[in-house]
């Protein structure tokens, strides 16, 4: 019976009837084990959180209460948030320009095929990782401590925070370029700098434009909160409104942030469609 090829695989009951099971037994066990570990981690996470349950049960009422105090929005406050909102957009834009300027050399050093040597590759990667791993709020705290509170710290924080993202994506673009075009420019006797300007830059231009406009959109969102730690923009206005418990003003600020972020996303999509 074992030699019968038609019954070589499949699962059979002792009476020889073939049954269907979705997975083999070891596979089932393995899956069960993984699930068990997952559930245990989640249980550990829940018990470790020390939730103060009376607060939680009270929450719906708290939220309703807060919502009640936030309404109606203080429409009269609209005029006073225009300037900080524009400052927010300026911080994002200047920060993005700063990031764009700084990230092109970093990207060239972070790409396997254009870096100078192992050391430069390594340095570029450390810059990328540091910039990406540290949140914009933390960068804002650091630069507010260095340059004093205000939008200047914000611009630098947004710029430094963005380098990692833009440089990483541009470096990936550089690694994917057509090497033939670079080879051809090198074959004309062009120097390294000219090979980059003629053979590489035109190829990665669409990537740069796409990445930078995308990052600008992200930066608008980020620069609307860095004011919470003193780095300029609408965040400062929001912070003081909250400290004064002026909830109707908070509502109008939130609406403004919402509109500006939505608009920037729309503009960024439009630009990317236009240029890439």
């Amino acid at each position: 019976m074992t030699g019968d090829p038609s019954m070589a695989d499949g699962i059979y009951t002792p009476t020889g009837r073939r049954i269907w099971r979705r997975r083999s037994r070891p596979e089932t066990l393995r899956r069960f084990g993984l699930w068990l570990i997952g559930v245990m981690i989640v249980v550990w996470a829940i018990t470790g959180l020390n939730v103060h349950w009376p607060f939680v049960l009270d929450a719906p009422q708290q939220v309703a209460d807060l919502a009640g105090r936030m309404m109606p929005p203080a429409w009269s406050f609209t005029g006073e948030i225009v300037a900080p909102m524009i400052e927010t957009i300026n911080i994002a834009t200047l920060g993005t320009i700063l990031a764009c300027v700084l990230s092109i050399p970093v990207a060239l050093l972070a790409a396997q095929n254009t870096t100078l040597n192992r050391t430069t590759l390594w340095i570029a990667r450390v810059i990328v990782v540091t910039s990406r791993s540290i949140n914009e709020l933390v960068w804002a705290i650091i630069f507010a401590a260095i340059f004093g509170p205000g939008p200047l710290a914000g611009v630098i924080a947004i710029g430094i925070r963005s380098i990692g993202f833009t440089a990483k994506l541009i470096a990936e673009g550089i690694e994917e370029i057509d090497r033939g075009q670079v080879e051809a420019i090198a074959a004309t006797g062009a120097s390294r700098a000219k090979v980059i300007a003629y053979g590489i830059l035109p190829q990665i231009m669409p990537t740069i434009v796409g990445v930078v406009t995308f990052r600008w959109d992200i930066n608008i969102r980020q620069s609307s909160v860095i004011g919470l730690v003193g780095a300029g923009g609408i965040g400062i206005t929001l912070n003081s409104a909250m400290n004064l418990f002026n909830w109707p003003q908070v509502t109008i600020i939130l609406i403004a942030i919402f509109i500006v972020v939505m608009a920037s996303e729309w503009v960024s999509n439009l630009l990317r469609k236009q240029f890439t």
Binding site: I41, V42, W44, A45, I46, G48, L49, N50, V51, H52, F55, V56, A59, Q62, V63, L66, I86, E87, N90, I91, T93, L94, I97, V129, T130, R132, S133, I134, N135, L137, V138, I141, I142, A145, I146, F147, G148, G150, P151, L152, G154, V155, R221, Q222, S224, V225, L228, V229, G232, L238, M242, L254, I257, F258, V261, M262, E265
Partner: protein
């Protein structure tokens, strides 16, 4: 081709013929107008953010000073550091576990091909609001409503997770192969059966990928929500900066970078294996 006409120039007439790269914007008024506008904007924006060279230069020695104080990092209060890190991890894991489950009904409601129009619009509206507002702002509100601590942070990450997974999963459901769904519908399955046997198998691998990706994002975010009082290592970090204990700040930053790197690596490795 348009390029051939009017340019049958003989070699004699090409002598001295100049050439310039055709500009991106053909209309010179528009081109220079845009350039002037751009320059004017830059001047204005730099002025608006109070860029002050003196202040910038004054910052450089401060930066060097801060860097000197940061090195070597101070890990002596590792107990405090570990408590904060663990709380961040717990927030992130719990929030991901709940968030990705709640995302499923939200995603179904936000898929045009699954639900009636009013439900679709309501779900899309929710996703739009949640995804547009920065997470820190959501955290501030939840801190006001639930008090300081990890619970507010956990809820923030849960809500943000539903926005992320919900939107991408909904797009997946909208893109799925209608043939397979038709087949289940043809066997006489009701709406729920269509969902379970037609939609779920097709979207499952991507869904798991999204969950792991979101866990990665939540781990990152959980390290900073403490700055606005929503629990985790962020509060410890913020306080250390406030007390000018930069060596401790540096230790915390290094820990955060380590968490982010490990999370990114693990998330990438797992996603590469399952897809």
């Amino acid at each position: 081709m348009s390029a051939t006409d009017g340019s049958q120039a003989a070699s004699a007439s090409t002598r001295g013929r100049s050439w310039r790269k055709p500009p991106m914007i053909a209309n010179p008024v528009l081109r220079y107008g845009l350039l002037v506008l751009l320059a004017a904007y830059l001047v204005y924006a730099v002025d608006d953010v109070n860029f002050d060279l003196a202040r910038f230069i004054a910052g450089i020695p401060k930066a060097i000073d801060m860097a000197q104080q940061m090195v070597p990092p101070d890990f002596s209060r590792w107990q405090l550091l570990l408590d904060g890190v663990l709380e961040s991890l717990q927030m992130a894991i719990f929030a991901t576990a709940i968030g990705v489950v709640i995302s499923i009904p939200i995603a179904v409601c936000a898929a045009r091909n699954m639900v009636p129009k009013p439900v679709y619009l309501a779900a899309r509206g929710y996703l739009g609001v949640v995804r547009t507002l920065p997470e820190v702002l959501i955290a501030i509100f939840l801190v006001k409503a639930f008090g300081f601590g990890a619970f507010a942070g956990m809820l923030t990450l849960t809500i943000a997770s539903t926005g992320f997974v919900g939107k991408l999963l909904a797009e997946d459901i909208e893109d799925l192969d209608p043939g397979q769904v038709e087949a289940i519908r043809a066997t006489g399955g009701n709406w729920l059966k269509v969902l379970l046997f037609g939609v779920a198998p097709q979207t499952l691998p991507r869904y798991i990928g999204l969950c792991i990706y979101r866990l990665d994002i939540n781990l990152r975010e959980s390290t900073i929500l403490g700055i606005v009082g929503a629990g985790g290592i962020g509060a410890t970090l913020y306080n250390s900066f406030g007390r000018y204990e930069y060596d401790f700040s540096f230790a915390i930053l290094l820990s955060i970078i380590a968490i982010v790197l490990v999370a990114e690596w693990a998330s990438g490795a797992i996603r590469a294996r399952i897809t």
